[in-house]
Amino acid sequence: MVVGGDFPKGLTEIAPQSDVGSNLARRSVLIGLAVAASSLFVGAPIENLISNSASALGAGSLTSFLPGGGFRYYTVTGGYPLIDKASYRLKVSGLVDTVNSYGFDELSRLNQVELIDDFQCVTGWVVKGVRWKGVALADLIEMAHPSKGAKAVNFYSADNVYSESLSLSQVKQLGVLVAISMDNKPLSQAHGGPVRLFVPKMFGYKSIKWLNEIKVSSSQVVGYWEQNGYPQDAYIANYQGL
């Protein structure tokens, strides 16, 4: 016995065990640290492998039930704005010759563009191969006839808090969509429906939800997350860490 007499009853048998047995607690701590550290290196490849093999087996919809598959739903206000499709208007204004406003039906009658792209969140989660459909933002801006000083496009959400922006040249290059459908379904309220933006090649925070105003401007507004330190140029390829 290593220890003395006024030992709590029932515990005398315990102390000497450390030299016969391995220390489970220390091992647990090390395992926890090791698993967390290795997830930084192998987590993403494993997840990609799982989702790729699931879609290769024709079980693409299955990935949404797998851990890590599927969207996280964000809102920066309390809850999701509820927008009535029938009374919804999308305003295109600012440095333009013609201020336009579109109802949902008018938008869906315009020339529709479809594209498939991953939805990549800057916080790390990703949804592969999302099918977006909607009107090309460049078309809407073209129809409003931007005036001379126009250099940027600012976006405002119906939640009255969130805003985002792109340069006019980015709008043309990236094929930005004013999306009204996702994976062949109308956009749900949680996904920013009835109308949201989808910006390919950029992080998800650029793809503003519950879009209700597009303002052509001489300069970009600093968006909601950009005020909190996110880069305004949200190219996924240029990511350097926040």
């Binding site: 009853k9 048998e13 065990q17 647990s28 926890g32 640290l33 809850g79 790390g124 990511y239």
Partner: protein, 209 residues
């Protein structure tokens, strides 16, 4: 038969009563449990699409989740830092965190002996504790990567998120197992809450001797 004589309170000839869990152990257990359940609930609200719209203020839920994450291991860490080497609490914690030959044997002939294999805990209970310790550490670290926007490559953030998701499922399963065992062994709840064994369990122990 073969039942270790480590339960002081089973020795009815003495007047000293040692509860199965002393007050400080119970405080650590329940403060950790409150944080854990908070994490589980707020995490579910943030994670499941079906539950997300139920939440009024997502920002508040996020904050509660993060603070609970900071607090969840604190009781145990403080206990390990501030309890003196041979204090009762430290020895009791070490008992749970020590793996012995007897535990390995118990695991081999699992379930045949329904009681502690060596001391107060059987190997299953020790592994339960070890699982929660490991996974809480992993969840706290991956949560830090996710929540604090630590400057790391995107694939590292994706990997941390992936592990946090898997951890959520695993911990939920083991937690439900833990609840199941509490229901199966009725007395264990009052042991952990009031420090006493229920009459039923004492009866069971007495019968075995």
């Amino acid at each position: 038969m073969g039942y270790p004589e480590v339960r002081g309170h089973n020795d009815h000839s003495t007047t000293s009563f040692t509860p199965r869990f002393i007050l400080s152990e119970r405080l650590i257990h329940w403060s950790t449990a409150v944080c854990f359940v908070t994490l589980l609930l707020t995490g579910s609200l943030l994670y499941f699409p079906a539950l997300a719209p139920v939440v009024g203020d997502r920002g508040l839920i996020v904050e509660v989740h993060i603070y609970a994450g900071f607090l969840v291991l604190l009781p145990l860490v403080l206990a390990m830092i501030y309890s003196p080497s041979y204090s009762e609490l430290r020895l009791r914690l070490l008992e749970l965190g020590t793996w012995s030959e007897a535990d390995r044997d118990w695991l081999k002939r699992r379930m045949k002996v329904d009681g502690p294999s060596n001391g107060r805990f059987n190997a299953g209970q020790k592994l339960n504790g070890a699982f929660f310790l490991s996974s809480l550490i992993a969840m706290c670290l991956t949560g830090l990567v996710m929540g604090l926007y630590i400057p790391l490559p995107l694939s590292a953030r994706q990997g941390a998120t992936f592990l946090h998701d898997i951890g959520f499922y695993l911990m939920t399963i083991v937690f439900l197992g833990h609840i199941f065992m509490v229901i199966r062994h009725r007395g264990s709840f009052s042991e952990m809450t009031f420090g006493k064994e229920s009459p039923k369990l004492e009866h069971r122990v007495a019968k075995r001797q």
